[in-house]
Amino acid sequence: MNSSLTLANFLPVQKLNMNHLQNTQISGLMSSPLPGITTPVIPGNCYSNMQNSESTFTQREARANSTIPQVIPMCNSGSLAATSLFSSGFYSSGYSPQINWPGESVQGVLGYDLDNINSGKIQDIMKHGSDAVLNSDVAGLMDGSWRQILDGTAVTDSQGKVAYSVSEEATNTSDQNQQLSLCHVSKSNSNNNINEICCAASPSSSSNAAIPARPPRMRWTQELHERFVEAVNKLGGSEKATPKGVLKLMNVDGLNIYHVKSHLQKYRTARFRPELSPEEERKSARLEDLQSLDPEKANDINEALRAQMEVQKKLHEQLEHQRKLQLQMEEQCKYLQMIVEKQQQSIDQLKLNKCTNIKLPSSEKLLTSENGCDEINQVDASEEMSRQIGQKHKTSESDNSICGAFSPMKRARGD
């Protein structure tokens, strides 16, 4: 490996892509610039291992120096995963979180004190990964009972389901947030008038975002295409129809002439000049062969086609299945993340209420695995902490001893 390889080597790729993006903005295939979108709200703990002021400085420095938008996730420890930014119609692509480092320190943003007691251990675990889990004494508690917990709560927020099934006819609104309301163009709407392609509204909480959102891109659906074809036919066919005419006839909010123009072009190509598509070129060369075939050879061809179909069908089936599994896995990870957050919160709460007689929340079942989600490691850490606190709390009654409970904690941190 080239020892002088630097990050700069990768930057040209970045710049290239940025240019590409800028060009596509101009090309007109995109709609006119819309208000900034985004701020996926990201589950917390993204930067819990970050040093405070140093990072803030680096952020600002990086932002100032580079023309490339900085993309740092905005951590919001209280909320669940990212909103459903996407559905048919317009969407904002990519992961374009906001910078949100106003004057305040990381502490303020993340909502809890980074100097808290468990940060040391968590840092260790996050540095060394799941090995730390295996080595710790909590690893042995891994058992199959986590399945029961997970089965009962497949989706912790209805948002998740909505986000995954894009082609749902219903309007995809995200109630969890503030930011977006994307509509789906649907013919099933009994409303004869205008089916809208809505655009995403700008997020309220990140109006100070420094990143320009990428303009939403048009995504065609079967219903939209039906409308398109109807309009084209009314206008006398694909050769006679003009983009302007089609656009008017289609009467779909949010659709602009560039969308129609490019779609019309594709349509014409598909209809009258199929041989221009590279795929078709190769096929047409064999048409002569096909035409002169005797029945027996024709059967052979059919057999081959059937076989090809079988393989294709199988692949499709497996892909669907795999996708389901992948979605499920991420759901589980999300759930575990939530548990970790809850643990953090309850530890926080304990800290704040250290002078009041507060009962410790019962420990959740430990959820670990050899190479599961990263956040599981944090569950262990906070489990450990809360158990230690609990033990000390039970054995003491006076304020002194409760406060004294934290000294063993501090000693533990030094491990």
């Binding site: 630097t6 930057l11 680096t58 540095k127 659906t221 295409h225 064999r286 996708r323």
Partner: protein, 250 residues
């Protein structure tokens, strides 16, 4: 490296126009290795994320373009099939040729769409792996939030294409059943599928299936969160190291 090799094989076998649309897995892996483990800087992370973003952008653009084309082509095919009966008499030689061509077109169209779904899946898998490597390397927690975003990206939301695929399959039944009467009498023999089916579609499909099987067979990082093994007993021929283009029909 297993995934990397498999990905490369798929790219090699894929439809030529698609070759540069896949994830730059190797490059991203290099980048992750390059990022310092001891002092993961937020600047490095920002740049890493930016790269990932541009990859995603690449997927999305390509995917949406293809999706749009498939929507158009599907409808055209449908029209063509409907009109087939109207245009010719079944006894026409031209009808037979047209029918044969249509069958081929449908099968290849079906194949292309499935390959697009595979494209989506392969890139997703690659992203997930890269993110996992990044987290492992830097001790950060970038994977989970980032993958949440990826899940909602257009290139991963393949429901529409799946729908089109299923529709294609139903469209195919009448087309192929018409041929069955003649087929019953024919002998089956090996054929050169390269002259019949679109080679790159077929090759890519097979490569995809093999990849899936391989990746899920079990690895050093196999655990509770890995996908279960993939069993395709009826496709035993996929196991052979060098896959010939014709399939021996049993």
């Amino acid at each position: 490296m297993k995934f990397g090799k498999r990905l490369k094989k798929q790219i090699d076998d894929t439809i030529p126009e698609w070759k540069d649309k896949f994830l730059s897995y190797k490059d991203l892996k290099k980048l992750v290795r390059f990022i310092s483990a001891a002092h993961p800087s937020t600047k490095a992370e920002a740049q890493f994320v930016e790269l990932l973003n541009s990859e995603i952008e690449k997927f999305n653009s390509f995917f949406i373009e293809q999706e749009e084309e498939f929507i158009i082509r599907q409808r055209e095919l449908q029209d063509r099939i409907e009109k087939l009966g109207e245009r010719f008499e079944p006894s026409d030689a031209e009808y037979a040729a047209e029918m044969a061509q249509t069958r081929k077109d449908i099968v290849n169209f079906h194949g292309e769409m499935v390959l697009l779904i595979n494209y989506s899946n392969v890139n997703y898998t690659g992203l997930a792996k890269i993110l996992k490597k990044y987290d492992k390397r830097t001790g950060r927690l970038l994977r989970l939030p980032f993958i949440e975003i990826v899940l909602k990206q257009p290139f991963f939301t393949t429901e529409l294409i799946s729908k089109l695929v299923k529709k294609c399959e139903t469209m195919m039944d009448p087309i192929f059943s018409l041929a069955s009467a003649v087929e019953d009498q024919a002998e089956t023999k090996e054929m050169d599928s390269a002259a019949i089916a679109e080679p790159s579609i077929f090759k890519n499909t097979v490569a995809a299936l093999v990849t899936m099987q391989e990746l899920r067979k079990g690895s050093s990082t196999y655990g509770h969160f890995s996908l279960p093994p993939l069993n395709l007993p009826e496709f035993d021929f996929l196991q052979s190291p060098s896959l010939p283009s014709p399939i021996p029909i049993q």
